[in-house]
């Protein structure tokens, strides 16, 4: 199965009620596949007039209590930022898939990791956070998309799948775990707008003009984000117990680093890998713990240096943090990583 298709199947199995999308390379498989499957299943599919319209259709579907998803790639995700800020402010659940490509601007159509800042530091305005999940395999494309819907509903928060053109286009066999299937009908959404029969009218808004109201709301959002930080950090570590040099990478970069680290271990080098799966909330503690034991940390990412800043903050001076970057749609090879680590 292709990575992009695994995203679709994960969404469908998670009970995605509505998908709204727009064509952009390298994620065109997603709207095409959904246009067939969602219609077969009697669910909602619309190819919207723009990525901007699509995120607002997601807002509508989310407002009335449905599980909604949209997908795009970097430039299209920029268009969605207004809608994302509104969704976060109104506390609406939804899933947004970014199959990153080279940027900035129109860039190119190769995979990249240059939207880390946009995803984790808020590309839209205001104080808000998204849960950001970074799959590195086709299996994770399925699993994390499935998980995204549950997390979105649990916390009333938009969740982003931050993947890239390579994982999106990659083909790997996966087994779909049927125990992960859930029944949506038990989810009680007592805030949704579906007509005021049997109850008082409800409103949905992010505009809070009452004296002190917006401040209170922002503190409430912070409480929610602190709760998520406590409960939902996910990461994977390889050989970090005795690592002298630890590599930190996410998504496709981590995939390449994983085999580089394995090879170096076979040659006797004490290296390890930390792979954040949630980019927000960021696994600060595990990085801090590994930094306390290691001589150096190398951050390898396909951009000019984004996650490295969060790693530096987590390391907080305990050891030096080095960087290996591949921006503009470039991909580093296993050999490049091995060479860099050996130099360190």
């Amino acid at each position: 199965m292709k990575g992009n298709i695994a995203v679709c199947e994960g969404a469908i199995d998670a009970g995605c009620d509505a998908y709204f999308g727009y064509p952009i390379t390298p994620q065109n498989e997603i709207p095409a596949y959904m246009s067939r499957r969602m219609v077969e299943l009697g669910r909602v599919f619309i190819q919207a007039e723009s990525e901007l319209a699509a995120i607002n259709m997601v807002f509508g579907a989310a407002v009335c209590g449905k599980r909604a998803m949209t997908s795009s790639s970097s430039p299209g995700i920029s268009l969605k930022q207004e809608g994302i800020s509104y969704l976060a402010g109104a506390e609406l659940p939804c899933v947004i898939v970014n199959v990153q490509r080279g940027g900035p601007g129109l860039g190119n159509i190769s995979g990249s990791q240059a939207d880390y800042f946009q995803a984790t530091k808020g590309g839209g305005h205001g104080d808000y956070r998204l849960i950001v999940l970074a799959p590195y395999s086709v299996k994770e494309m399925y699993d994390l998309t499935f998980l995204a819907f549950d997390l979105a509903d649990k916390y009333r928060i938009p969740v982003m799948i931050l993947t890239d053109g390579i994982v999106g286009q990659m083909m790997e066999p996966i087994t779909i775990n049927s125990e992960l299937r859930i029944n949506n009908s038990e989810l009680k959404k007592d805030w949704k707008l579906d007509g005021c029969k049997g109850r008082g009218p409800r409103l949905m808004r992010s505009l809070i003009m009452e004296e002190g109201g917006l401040e209170k709301h922002n503190w409430h959002l912070k409480e929610k984000y602190d709760e998520i930080k406590k409960n939902e950090i996910r990461y994977e570590t390889d050989f970090t117990d005795d690592a002298e040099i630890a590599v930190a990478a996410f998504g496709i970069a981590a995939r390449i680093c994983k085999s580089a680290v394995k090879k170096l271990r076979q040659e006797g080098f004490k290296v390890g890998l930390i792979r954040p799966i949630t980019l927000w909330p960021f696994p600060e503690k595990v990085i801090s713990d590994v930094a306390a034991k290691s001589k150096k940390i190398l951050v390898a990412e396909m951009n000019m240096g984004q996650m490295v800043e969060d790693v530096k903050l987590a390391v907080n001076g305990k050891c030096p943090v080095e960087f290996l970057g591949a921006p503009g749609g470039a991909v580093f090879s296993e050999d490049e990583i091995i060479a860099k680590i050996k130099k360190l």
Binding site: D17, A18, F20, V44, I46, A48, E49, S50, L52, A53, A54, N56, M57, V58, F59, G60, A61, A62, V63, C64, K66, A68, E82, G83, Y86, A90, L193, D194, G195, C196, K197, G198, P201, R202, L203, M204, R205, S206, L207
Partner: protein, 247 residues
């Protein structure tokens, strides 16, 4: 003696914060009356604009959501496709619908979304203090056209009914006003037709309501309704622009 005219159930018993004489108060009420008469209050979801009517959810007595500026037709599409048996309508001003939201309204109309749009045209941007809108008429002075709208620099007033009536997905378009009691009744009849079309799955309906904005036009309310009749309606003629319903 029996009560013949009073507050509809779909309107809350609150003082609204609109300016004295503003058309929004009348239009909110006639929409509420139509929703009462059709018996659909409990399955209606309204989408409020960004503009003076952003607080419409404080006045209407049914579910209402905010939307980003210009995006109500996309939000309405999301809701209506997911809950096709509910009554979904957007309420938008001239900035919301005719400036920032032109793509969203054209495409919702073009897809023939089975929703209702009430478009309030007061020829300026009220909320932000009276700037030029796409619907500002030539020669009209606003805070961003201090010498009057000039076709060469600012373009022409945008005629939404005329524009949208060319789309196949559209069922019904009518332009009305609330400048006199007779026009208020006509406006209510048009709005009722627009909601009935949704109940009968006929596709997209839009009613454009010419509305008075006394404060930003710098007129008294009585002068402003006269200006709607005598000046605004000359650029934006009242009447039916498309009607798919069989007589």
């Amino acid at each position: 003696m029996k009560k013949v005219f009073s507050k509809p159930e779909s309107l809350q018993d609150k003082n609204n914060s609109y300016c004295p004489g503003c058309g929004h108060g009348i239009i909110h009420r006639i929409i509420a009356e139509v929703i009462d008469e059709l018996g659909v209050r409990e399955k209606t979801i309204g989408i409020a604009p960004v503009g003076c009517a952003v607080f419409a959810y404080y006045y209407w007595n049914f579910d209402v959501t905010e939307a980003a500026h210009g995006r109500p037709p996309a939000v309405a599409t999301g809701i209506k496709r997911c809950l096709p048996d509910r009554v979904v309508f957007t309420y938008q001003g001239d900035g919301d619908l005719a400036a920032i939201g032109t793509a969203e309204i054209i495409h919702a109309a073009n897809r023939g979304e089975n929703i209702t749009t009430i478009f309030v045209n007061n020829a300026n941007y009220g909320m932000t203090g009276g700037q030029m809108a796409p619907t500002t008429i030539l020669g009209q002075k606003t805070t961003t056209t201090p010498n009057g709208r000039d076709a060469k620099r600012d373009g022409y007033p945008l005629k939404v009914c005329e524009l949208l009536s060319s789309l196949d997905g559209v069922c019904y378009i009518e332009r009305v006003s609330v400048s006199t009691p007779k026009n208020v009744l006509k406006a209510k009849r048009a709005i009722k037709k627009a909601f009935e079309n949704q109940l009968n799955n006929r596709g997209f309906s839009l009613v454009e309501v010419l509305s008075q904005c006394p404060t930003d036009w710098q007129m008294t309310p009585v002068e402003s309704v006269k200006w709607v009749d005598e000046v605004l309606a000359k650029t934006f003629p009242l009447g039916v622009y498309k009607e798919c319903m069989k007589k």
